[in-house]
Structures are given as C-alpha cells and as structure tokens.
C-alpha cells in the first residue's frame, strides 16, 4: 500500500512531498510526544500526530517514516512546512480525529478495505 492510495481513500490534503506519494507504507504510529515517537516508531510508518512544530520533520526524516498526517484539521506551522519542502517529507492533513484516522488506516493496512473509505 502506498501513500497515494491512502491519500485517495481518505481524501487527505497534501501539504508537501507530492512527488513522494509512491512511497510504500509498512505500518502506522500515533503519538504527540516526539521523544516517544523517536524511541518507538519504525521505518515505513505513517505517523499520525497533532504536533505541528518543525521538529516533526526531523523526526520523520530520522526514522524514515513514509509520511506524516496531521489530524483534526491541524496545519503545519510555517517553518515546519518550509522544512518539509526542503527535506521533501510528505506532510498530509485530515479533519478526522486521531482515533478515526488511526482506525481507518489500520483497516486499510490490515486488509479490511470495506471500512476504510471515507463516507462523508
């Protein structure tokens, strides 16, 4: 499953990294404490967070995440977006809550595609 499919299925807004949407998503991780995300997330994760500080770009880059999805209508701070563009890290956004988003992505990645599509 690549990012592009997830963006399409969940109608995500793409803030940066448009040319990297073919990146394969291996698993997901949720967390707003960057210390925790640095310690426990894995390469290929799609990271769902409400944190918009520019350090999220460095963490995603360090951990080789597939991309970052900002939840609940959050948008990247100006310097965060600049850094994301410079480092070409896909940053996406959704109006879904973290709970909703994680549930849908879980279903997409773990095969229950029926429940995954946005029914807004």
């Amino acid at each position: 499953m690549n990012l592009e499919t997830i963006v399409r299925l969940l109608d995500l807004k793409v803030f940066s990294g448009l040319d990297k949407l073919k990146t394969e998503v291996l698993d997901g991780y949720t967390g707003d404490l960057l210390s925790d995300v640095m310690a426990n997330s894995k390469e290929g994760d799609i990271w769902m967070t409400r944190q918009v500080h520019q350090n999220i770009i460095a963490v995603a880059s360090l951990k080789d995440h597939a991309g970052i999805i900002l939840v609940h209508g959050a948008e990247p701070a100006k310097d965060t977006l600049e850094k994301a563009m410079k480092e070409n890290i896909p940053v996406m956004g959704t109006n879904l809550s973290g709970f909703e988003l994680a549930g849908r992505i879980y279903n997409i990645l773990k095969g229950k595609k029926d429940n995954a599509a946005v029914d807004l």
Binding site: M38, Q51, H53, A58, D79
Partner: protein, 247 residues
C-alpha cells in the same frame, strides 16, 4: 567583586493549582532564607499574581526575588521566564492570558490562591492555569527576549512537559538561555546523560511545590550582583561569571 550566589530559579507558590497551600509568600521567603538561598525566582504556572507580594516581603532581607513565570507552550513544553522588573513580567502575563483558554476546576486541579504580604487571601485566580497556551514555544521565547528576560527550558530530564519529552530534541532555532535539570538528577549526571547538549548552560533548581522542597535544588553561580544581565553572563561563561557544576 565576584562572589558565589545560591540560586533557585524555579519555585512555585500556592497560586499554582498543584502546589501546597502552605506555599504562601511569607512562608516561602522565610524557608528560602533558612536554606541560605541568595536568589529565588518565583515561577507559577502561567500566572504571577503573588510575585508583587514576594518582592515586597524580600525588601530589607538577605534574599533577592526575581519575577518569573513558568509558561506552557502550544506543544506543552514548560519554559521559565525570568525578569529584573515586575513591569516586564506583567507584559508577558497579558500575552499569556490572551492565549490561555479555560477555567479552573478547583475540585480537580486544586485551588489557585492569591495571598498578600500580610498572609491574607486576596482572591482566587479563576483561569485554567494548569492548561497550555496556544503559543508555539519559539514565539514565547521571542516574547521573553523582547521584554529583556531569560528563557530557561524547565526540567529537561523529566518525562513530561519538557522540551525533550514533547519535541524530542532541542533544535538551534529554539534559543533557550539555559536548560534546567531536576534536583533528583543533578547537573553532573545530566552532563553524562546529554552529551549532545554540551553547548548549553545547565542550572539545577528545586521546582518546589511544597515548603520542604525549598533548598533541595539550587545552583551556585559566580556573579557580581543579582541581575538578569549577570545571570546571562554566567549562562554564557563570560567575564568570570559562571555556574558552578562540580557539586
């Protein structure tokens, strides 16, 4: 002349919902003097109404009170703001209150008591002081600096509400003047634990929430006198000013 000052730059009063009620201004000053502290900074969560009474109580006593506040950022990072003058703290306070949503629930979070220099209750702060502002950490540091203050990252070794727990690391665009280490960890251990932060000044403070905590954590600093300018020189190890780390 340079001399050693025992500085605890992070003490709460009974205005902080999580602090004990016996942390009223007079008790706090008396215990600080008993513990032979030369300098204390009073830093309540997002508030400062008790600072003026502490300043008045410290007059003529062998202790200097620096006006301060522990501000919570959007990222829920705690940062200490330290000033020479109450007037600048009051300006920061206005900005913080403009960006601090919510009302306190005393039954859940605790009372937020304003106590004057005659041990009388002046009133309660009704705001949700335990909450966070919607100001990004870098903006808060910027406001502190514009007002001539110092910005110190609170308890960086703690697993909650610290720059490291919330944001993972300290990037160079987040210009803290110093980083605070908890009394339980101490500077020596922190230097071993955080080699990547070797360029930053470390201070140790008590983060006292009860009277018995006062004296448990402080930094000895070599200064000429007590001022924000002198503290900044010590943080930067300039002109003979420094923080004594070998304790």
């Amino acid at each position: 002349m340079l001399r050693a000052f025992r500085c605890d730059l992070h003490i709460h009063t009974c205005l902080s919902p999580c602090a004990d009620l016996d942390m009223y201004p007079r008790a706090l000053i008396e215990k600080s003097i008993t513990e032979k502290l030369d300098v204390i900074a009073v830093c309540d969560h997002n508030a400062s109404e008790n600072v003026e009474y502490l300043l008045s109580l410290a007059k003529g006593k062998p202790i200097t009170v620096l006006p301060g506040m522990e501000v919570s950022s959007l990222e829920e990072v705690h940062v200490l703001a330290l000033f020479d003058d109450l007037s600048n703290l009051i300006k920061l306070q206005a900005t913080v209150y403009d960006h601090l949503p919510g009302k306190n629930r005393e039954d859940i979070f605790g009372p937020q008591v304003i106590v004057n220099d005659r041990d009388e209750v002046e009133g309660m702060n009704e705001r949700l002081l335990i909450g966070a502002t919607d100001l990004p950490i870098n903006n808060i540091i910027n406001v502190i600096h514009v007002l001539g203050g110092l910005a110190v990252a609170s308890h960086i070794d703690r697993p909650s509400y610290s720059i490291l727990s919330q944001l993972g690391f300290i990037d160079p665009q987040t210009p803290f003047d110093a980083l605070e280490i908890s009394a339980a960890t101490g500077i020596k251990q922190a230097r071993r634990q955080y080699p990547e932060l070797s360029a930053h000044a470390f201070i140790k403070s008590s983060d006292a929430h009860s009277i018995r905590d006062i004296g448990r954590g402080f930094s000895t600093m070599i200064l000429q006198k007590v001022s924000i300018r002198e503290l900044k020189l010590a943080f930067e190890k300039r002109d003979g000013r420094r923080i004594v780390e070998g304790e």
